[in-house]
Amino acid sequence: MKHIFLLGALLTITGCAGAGLHVPEGSQLEEDLLRVGRADVAWSGDAERLVVGGEDPFVFEVASGRKISLGRSPVNRVAFSPAGDVVAAVVYGDDGEHIAIFNVNGQQKATQPMSGRTTGLAWKDDNSVVWSSMELEKFGFGGNLKTWLSVWSIKETTVKSTLIADNTLNSRLTEGIDLAIANGLDNLAVGPYRDECMISHYVDPPLFPPYINVTVRRFTETSNQLSVKADIDSSRVFPGTDGDSIWIKRDQELRRFDRWSGKELQSMLLDGNNFAVAPGSGLVWDGRNLHRGEQVIGPIVADRLLFSPDGAKAAVVKSGMLSILNGLASAAPFSAAFDVEKMVKLRSWRAQKLISHEEYLELKRKLLKP
């Protein structure tokens, strides 16, 4: 009897809901909507739909609960286009992986063969598909790992692939990466203006411990802008809300770095490798708690969490079941506060050093919509 009281007290204090999901006060949980297992999940730009990969991929309409199948082939990665009208998916076929484009009715519109194993999928500002892939070759002494970034212009039907890194690795690291890729290693993120991406790759220098190098790569100027080191056990990278910073894991802490200078701006303790940053509102999930800046908003204990683009919702996966958390701090994506076209141009000037950083900040301030 005492135990029941104790459990009741704990549930009340922590705001625990249903099957053990702890959620922040003020938010509402639509619990256990879907079984997704370990499948990749992505939001549409308007946060009205989710696309779910796995053995039976589908688009899920949040409001109606309708599921639209995306065919019968297993899907590794998924990503909604910026306009939300099509979905890119990495599909397993008889001859390896390929990228397929589906409309939201589940019809396949285009496909593109690819090589290697996909480790990230996203969309660029001009409706081109971007993906990262790795090719791991094993030898007696270890392995050779090539990390690629590819851009598929669906309109021009061209694919440009760039070798981001070509590294020799020791045997232990080779085995670890092989396993990580099989378990869905994620090494790509696209910034809020979709004019650049952040891609991470492994480095194993002689005499020093291996680490992950995160590179910010511009799409328009096809140049690498920044290189920062991250912990070897987490290749994940998130763009900062304002497009001027990036989040990575280093020294077991989640740290935010200035995207232009590489200076550290913020850090917080991290419990494990599960973390997420809301692109719109700047909310941060550290694996156990939800933060805004220095403030802890409340606990969310889950296996995975994926914020919607505006940060108002989150898809939460625990024990393979997907729930949706509503009512988080609502905020329009930071990019919505600007004339995006002008901001993209301004950022291009800054990247090309046609303007100084001070000029960039001043012009950005002036471009902010009233």
Partner: protein
């Protein structure tokens, strides 16, 4: 009975060993007289005999299966071996070798540098593409004579001499640390440090060893805060190593003065890295457009990366495009001279041999890249007016015109200010 055996061991065995040495000397006094004379004049004589280092299996010695390696010396010189093994010198084979298993001119003698006997597991984890592209003869002299340092004390100490005067002179370092890719010896020789050393001796001017092997340490990486490619080593290690180097500098200089000087060199290195990165970016742009001639898919395969564009430390100096040839010189020669010259306090190497060449390389690379783009447009039927459709925005065009000398600085600044005001709405 035990006593009899002991007496036998004490009296008879040394005598047999002595006889063994005599049998070596008997022939080698004639076959390799210099080796015998040098050994007899060395600190090893007479206590360390031929078989102590070379063993007794003459046939395997002759076939090259047994040789004197750093591990042999390490049996006695344990501290020196351990310092050497943790230094950049121990990377020699890792960076200078590659597996020749599939090469037609394979020399089986080379296997032992990476493999223990009867083991297919390689000890080294990095292969060198440039090594793998060479003939056996070139690999033997052009690569291994320096990179064998990992496993060969005689790379600096010579085979049979033990005279420390040889290895305490900067000249011994010049055997490898010279030439277009890393002219540290020339930089030192023509710096104030080198000039003082050559005129006033070690007590006034530092030798290579004064700074890089203080107190006879064999850890030549002591105090080094950068990789061989000019990138930062991890900060936590770099901080420690910088203090170690400052301990060395502080023997002659105020610590703060030395710290500032090294920090200036750090900045020079970062600036050189930025220039190099700009060139690499431009080449990758051309590569992404498939405009390199020949393209990676049209060339013989890179020994480690196949038909891909390789611009990193495994970059070749053959079987590639003119643009990459310009970049190789920029990266391997001029970039290295710039930042290594700065750390060695040599103004001419830092500026004229380094920085000036580096910047001129960038000009060449950009010009060649633009030429390739224009040529591609003409071939696509771009008409009689060469050059692509100008899709640059106003600020890009304006800045380009200024850089090409088509307008004065004042005109440029005025036009630029107006443009930025109009962009942000101030000018409306």
């Amino acid at each position: 009975m035990k006593k009899i055996i002991l007496v036998f061991v004490l009296l008879v065995l040394p005598a047999s060993l002595q006889a063994e040495e005599q049998s070596c000397i008997g022939c080698h006094e004639t076959a390799t007289p210099a080796a015998i004379t040098q050994w007899q004049g060395s600190a090893h004589f007479p206590s360390v005999g031929c078989s102590d280092c070379h063993g007794t299996d003459h046939e395997r010695m002759r076939s090259g299966e047994i040789s004197v390696t750093a591990h042999t010396c390490g049996n006695c010189h344990q501290q020196a071996f351990s310092e050497h093994a943790s230094s950049k010198h121990s990377l020699g084979l890792h960076t200078g070798w590659g597996c020749t298993r599939n090469m037609p001119d394979r020399n089986r003698e080379e296997c032992k540098f990476c493999h223990d006997e009867n083991s297919s597991l390689a000890k080294s984890k990095v292969q060198c593409a440039r090594f793998l592209k060479q003939t056996g003869e070139m690999r033997a002299i052009g690569c291994n004579r320096c990179h064998e340092v990992e496993n060969s004390c005689q790379s600096c100490h010579s085979n049979h001499l033990t005279d420390l005067e040889i290895v305490r002179s900067s000249r011994i370092c010049a055997k490898c640390h010279m030439g277009p890719d890393h002219p540290q010896w020339e930089m030192w020789e023509t710096s104030l440090h080198g000039s003082l050393n050559m005129t006033m001796g070690d007590s006034i001017g530092p030798s290579c060893q004064s700074c890089h092997m203080p107190q006879g340490s064999h850890d030549v990486s002591l105090g080094i805060t950068v990789t061989t490619g000019g990138n930062d080593i991890p900060l936590e290690k770099a901080t420690v190593e910088r203090e170690k180097m400052l301990d060395v500098c502080a023997k002659c200089h105020a610590r703060d003065f030395a710290r500032r000087d090294l920090e200036v060199a750090d900045k020079v290195r970062q600036q050189a890295n930025d220039i190099l990165k700009e060139a690499e970016t431009r080449i990758r742009q051309i590569g992404d457009q498939n405009l390199l001639e020949p393209s990676p898919s049209e060339r013989p395969k890179h020994p480690l990366s196949g038909n891909t564009l390789v611009l990193d430390s495994q970059m070749l100096y053959e079987d590639y495009s003119h643009l990459e040839r310009l970049f190789f010189k920029m990266k391997k020669y001029d970039h290295a001279k710039t930042w290594k010259g700065a750390y060695h306090q040599n103004p001419a190497y830092t500026h004229w041999y380094g920085n000036a060449e580096l910047k001129m390389d960038l000009v060449d690379i950009k010009a060649e890249a633009t030429r390739l783009e224009k040529q591609a447009l003409l071939m696509e039927g771009g008409g009689s007016t060469p050059g692509k459709v100008d899709d640059r925005d106003e600020l890009e065009r304006l800045t380009d015109d200024y850089r090409r000398g088509r307008m004065s600085e004042q005109e440029f600044q005025e036009a630029r200010k107006k443009l930025l005001e109009s962009f942000s709405g101030d000018g409306k």
